[in-house]
Amino acid sequence: MVAGLSDEMTMESVEAFRTRTRAWMASALPSVEDPPLDSHALQRLLFDNRFAGIAFPREYGGAGLTLEHQKAFFDCAADLLRQVPAGYDHLVSVGMLGPTILEHGSHEAKLRFLPALLRGDDVWIQLLSEPRGGSDMAGATTRLTRDGHVYVLNGAKMWSTGAHVADYGLCLCRSDWDVPKHRGLSTVAVPLRGTPGLTIERIRAASGEAGDFCQEFFDDVVLPTENLIGEEGTGWAVAQTLLLHERNAAGSIGYGHLGPRLSGEDPTASDGLLGPSALLAALRHRRTNGAVATKLANAYIESVVGALTSARIMAGLRVGTHRGGWGSVSKLQASVAKHECIRTSLAALGAEGVIWDGADVRLDNAGTVWLGSRGGTLAGGSNEMQRNIVSERLLGLPREPSLDRDVPFNQVLRGLPAFE
């Protein structure tokens, strides 16, 4: 991973940085009690004061410092109750795509893409999953073909969160069909606004709502060859870097930062329709019987233990007793617990959770939330993939016998795509 060390031989100490940051924040950064800045304006304000991309090199728009400095920055913000970027878009763009480009992009690509990304002008997303692929991301079949001085892209991606409001997508695609699957992949930057041949559709959720998940169709989309990130055939390595940063981001230890909104949660604090606090209310409901009370207690206990587990793994990552893959343990625990929590709400609410007054469709009920609750156990790597990671990569148990590892990809059984 590239730190800021190459920029400056004599780097500002973390303590000096902290002092400078506090002073600047106190005078220039709005408090959480002020009217909220929109995410672009906030990112721009940080960028203009060299606080965006703190661990990115200065030549690409960063502050040329380290992740320790970045942690100090966010600690100060939490301490002084200042507004900092806290959205999922920031986490993905600055926390995952930025460092991936930094690691794999050419010098030219970095100059071209990173400053606009750190300034908040361009929001980046990942284009990894496919309708056909499910958990098998390396089985991508979106086709990248070289045609003289340009690339042509054909195929479809799916489950891309926020593609409808983003500027660029980093797309994993297949550039060579005659080599085994992990070796024929490339990654390319795809502009998402007004690109000829590109159609972006929001996926309608089981609830009936159009959600943030999108599907993209590429029909002879023409891209300049400079948009390639990494070399042809190295796409899997690029995707792995992206996934590593995703796990790190989930553990709040990476280039992105979720800010106080999602970290350090009090498990008993208010947290929407079906969180622990709603369960507490249900527990105090007069008709809650022993079976329901036990489920509610389990949900509460999981929420407390889950928070403690994440905190301990984060500490372990810091001191080196844990490696990056341990984020999967937290992800698995949290996904299972959240799903059980929603399931418990069905038990606690009975008919009140699935029937309402009025002739109109409503979405704010336990039953409808339940319909989408498997999203949490699938998105970001399904429970099954996390269990594979935990058992194979953390514990070192043998991998599944693979039927597609050493054969040319065009001979691999691929079955039906999801929508057919």
């Binding site: 056909r132 089985g139 079976a291 609410l349 002739a359 498997r374 699938l378």
Partner: protein
């Protein structure tokens, strides 16, 4: 799901299945989502012609067309589950059964033929707001005033409330439960439409504001309806469990089809052992659900006193495990399983609704505990 169906029952099942597949395929179910009532009355008359509404009647004074009406009715309920079909089969069946079991010759003659033909629809107004299914906690009162019974209170989660012509109302009198048949258009009856997460099942609040009916509308005896209500609940649970079995069985079937054609890592996804083992467990749950539902249906037909406990056990088991089958099938299906496009949410909706109606599995488990404590 009975393994020993008679030839008549086999024929009845086949007719039912073909009718549902032809007339209310899933595309039609999706269209009905937009509709106010969730089903067409003309379609319901066709369904009635197949015999769905004649199982518990309608011969005056007779014992119904079928000698084993519950075991016949669960066949329809299971098929409806397989197709997440619309229509007020459950409430009409319960009201017809109540008439058959408790009604006078006049009461039967007045209503059963119209229910059987599908010209009339009746529903049971049992539960009360706040997820109250236990009659001991009902607030709706039935007060005798000479030859008149006066009903006051609000009933909730009444299926097909806005399309029903009659309600069977279960209310408290001072010394017990009383049931009465009330026309939906009677004075003092207000129906407020409601909706559920199901694509086609509609519910509503029915309020009785001093509604006056003649005592000839009372089903059974005043203050003596407790056992009848209990038996009606058992029937409702049997039909609901059969529907849940149909829902879960069909969901597992199409999930296995889908998972056999869908590949990851060069293999069909259902070839992964972790999924196969969960699917084996689901098969155990499904077999158990079928067995306990069969046993309950038979116990109701046989007037076996065990039916009381079997109903609780059935709802506790089937109401928990069949929705769990659907839930894990969503996981196996993957991301597409949480989209509108994929049909599995139609099944998840029905399963989740059935889980809640007539008491949650947890409620019934608690009753099992109370009973076992002795």
């Amino acid at each position: 799901m009975n393994v020993e169906l008679s030839q008549e029952q086999e024929a009845f099942r086949n007719t039912t299945r073909r009718f549902l597949e032809a007339r209310v395929p899933l595309l039609v179910v999706r269209q009905l989502y937009e509709s106010h009532d969730g089903f067409e009355r003309s379609w319901w008359r066709e369904a009635a012609e197949l015999g769905w509404t004649s199982l518990f009647g309608p011969e005056v004074g007779g014992g119904g067309i079928s000698p084993i009406p519950t075991r016949d009715a669960v066949i329809v309920a299971e098929e409806m589950g397989r197709m997440v079909a619309p229509g007020p089969f459950l409430p009409v069946s319960v009201v017809a059964a109540a008439l058959l079991w408790e009604g006078t010759a006049t009461q039967r003659a007045d209503l059963l033929p119209a229910l059987a033909s599908g010209d009339s629809i009746a529903s049971w107004a049992l539960a009360e707001p706040g997820d109250v299914w236990d009659p001991a906690s009902f607030m709706t009162r039935a007060v005798l005033d000479g030859d008149i019974m006066v009903l006051t209170g609000t009933k909730a989660y009444v299926e097909a409330a806005t399309t029903s012509d009659h309600f069977l109302v279960t209310a408290r009198t001072d010394d017990g439960l009383t049931q009465a048949l009330v026309a939906a258009n009677a004075d003092g009856v207000t129906v407020t439409p409601g909706r559920s997460i199901d694509m086609t099942r509609r519910f509503g609040l029915v309020t009785f504001d001093g509604t006056r009916v003649p005592t000839s509308a009372v089903l059974g005896t005043v203050a003596g309806a407790g056992p009848a209500v209990e038996r009606q609940v058992q029937l409702a649970i049997a039909l609901q469990c059969a529907e849940l079995v149909g829902v879960a069985q069909r969901t597992l079937e199409f999930t296995l089809e889908y998972g056999s054609s869908r590949h990851a890592f060069g293999r069909p996804i259902v070839s992964f052992q972790a999924l196969k083992h969960r699917i084996a467990d689901m098969t155990v749950w499904l077999e158990g659900s079928k067995a306990v539902t069969d046993a309950l249906a038979q116990a109701i037909d046989d007037e076996d006193p065990e039916s009381l406990h079997l109903a609780r056990i059935a709802k506790a088991y089937v109401g928990e495990h069949c929705p769990d089958v659907v839930d894990d099938c969503v996981q196996i299906t993957g991301g597409i399983g949480v989209t509108w496009e994929h049909d599995i949410h139609l099944y998840n909706r029905r399963a989740t609704l059935d889980r809640a109606l007539y008491g949650t599995p947890e409620d019934h488990k608690e009753q099992v505990i109370t009973w076992l404590r002795g």
